[in-house]
Amino acid sequence: MEQSERILYALLIVLISSLMLTAMILEGPLTVLKNTLHLQTQAARLISDFTLHGVGTAMFNAATVGLLAMVLIFHASVSLSGPAVSAILTMMGFSFFGNTLLNSIPLIGGVWLASKLARKTFGSYSLIALFSTALGPLVTYLMFSIGLPLPLSVPLGIIAGLAAGFILPAVAGSMLQLHQGYNLYNVGFSCGFIGLFASNLLIAAGKMEPLTIKWSEEFSLPLFLLIPLFSVMLIVTALFIEKPKQGFQGFLEVQKLSGRLPYDFFDTGYTAGTFLNIGLLGLVFWGYLVIIGAPINGPTIGALFTIIAFGGFGKTLKNTYPVALGVVLSTLLFGKSLVAPGPLLATLFATTLAPITGQFGFFAGLLAGFLHLVMVEATASWHGGLVLYNNGFAGGLTASLFVAILQWYKTNRPEEDFTQ
């Protein structure tokens, strides 16, 4: 096991333990366990802020899901590096507003079945398996919200989860070709595609309820401090493993990377630089929320976790700020509020399009972010909120449009034609 991998395991264990411990202190062990069990029975469609059930409960839920993801990565013999960390932390982030153990396991099981059918190791499909949990609400919505008796609805939810997970590797591979790695949340794009069919089947059966937003505005100090503390821990780790000057040089080198999938920043050798990048991403985007007066609740914590998650696998400070700025401009131009749930989450999650900035420059990123908001506000209703990575779905559409146009332009450039 490499040094960076040992450090990442240590950091994750500290994070998961701290979340569990804080949860116990905040609400007491019995209440936390009782509330976490209750959380499993929530449909959890977008947007369901789990901190409304208790901040400690949401933290404990995130810790249990994170533990599951980490154990799976360990047992699948996959190295804990940029890609695996991105999946684990993304799952943990979404466990503040949608993922639970109950709705994650059937989907992971479906991907495992697909790996068996394709005669691959589970490790080969491990990233798809972890990200497949984006479809978690499909499982719990079928189990608890369509009005069937539990002996029927629970198996239905499990079967739907297994089926969705089973087809996901095929869909994810095809979706990757559409945007050529310029949308970091590719499985989100793929799940959105599957979600369209699932949602319309439910509409046809008359079982789809309208979307509602459950969004906490309450201030919670432990939640407020979670991201800055974790970010500072990452920065201190960077300064501990390499000299500050060396670490900073590594950080500058990381900023030069395009971030197009699959770019594992830990493979570049700039370990401290990558940790600095991750930590600073967390601090900067958290600072943005504080400055505009946005609530630090389940969904925003989830979004910040996701930004941190991809800090070693595609996102840098340099390639993320133009897309975020594009969403801000779009929000202001269309007269929306920066702190409203849709635009706020879009600003953070639009960083899925960071590789567009990384490859094509500032203005391309700005334009991608601008268009992203318009798309993301519509797409949640398309899949009925059954897909947690709604921004990954919308981002995939935006990235595919960009790639198609740029590809057409590049293949028709006259200067490289044969002489007539």
Binding site: S79, S124, Y125, K410
Partner: protein, 126 residues
Amino acid sequence: MKRKELLGRLIGEVTNFLLDGNPLRLVVSLHQEEDGAHLTFFDDKKRSEEELNRINKALHPKYERPELAEYYGLMAGHDVTWDSRLELIGWQIKHADVDNSDSGLRIDLWLGSDAFNPEKFTIGKE
């Protein structure tokens, strides 16, 4: 991945890389056996030591990355419009040799099942 698709992707990505250098001559040679295959690519552009090191590094990942090879490896050779990325195939092959030949760059790739031993291949290294 089936043999045909895998070979197509690998050939596509390496030729994309070589065509970026706008060579006047490019040769691709394939030899298959039951449990493996050997691909050789020649062009007429000699590379500097630094470039050879960069290619070697891309084709020799430090560790096995099954999670990247199977999933993101699908992008290899798919589209020649964008910059080539040899890392995508580095995860999918058994072994690679990169060197300047008399005329230009030569890249040898060996791939196959877990039982495949490139050392025993009938067309081996010279």
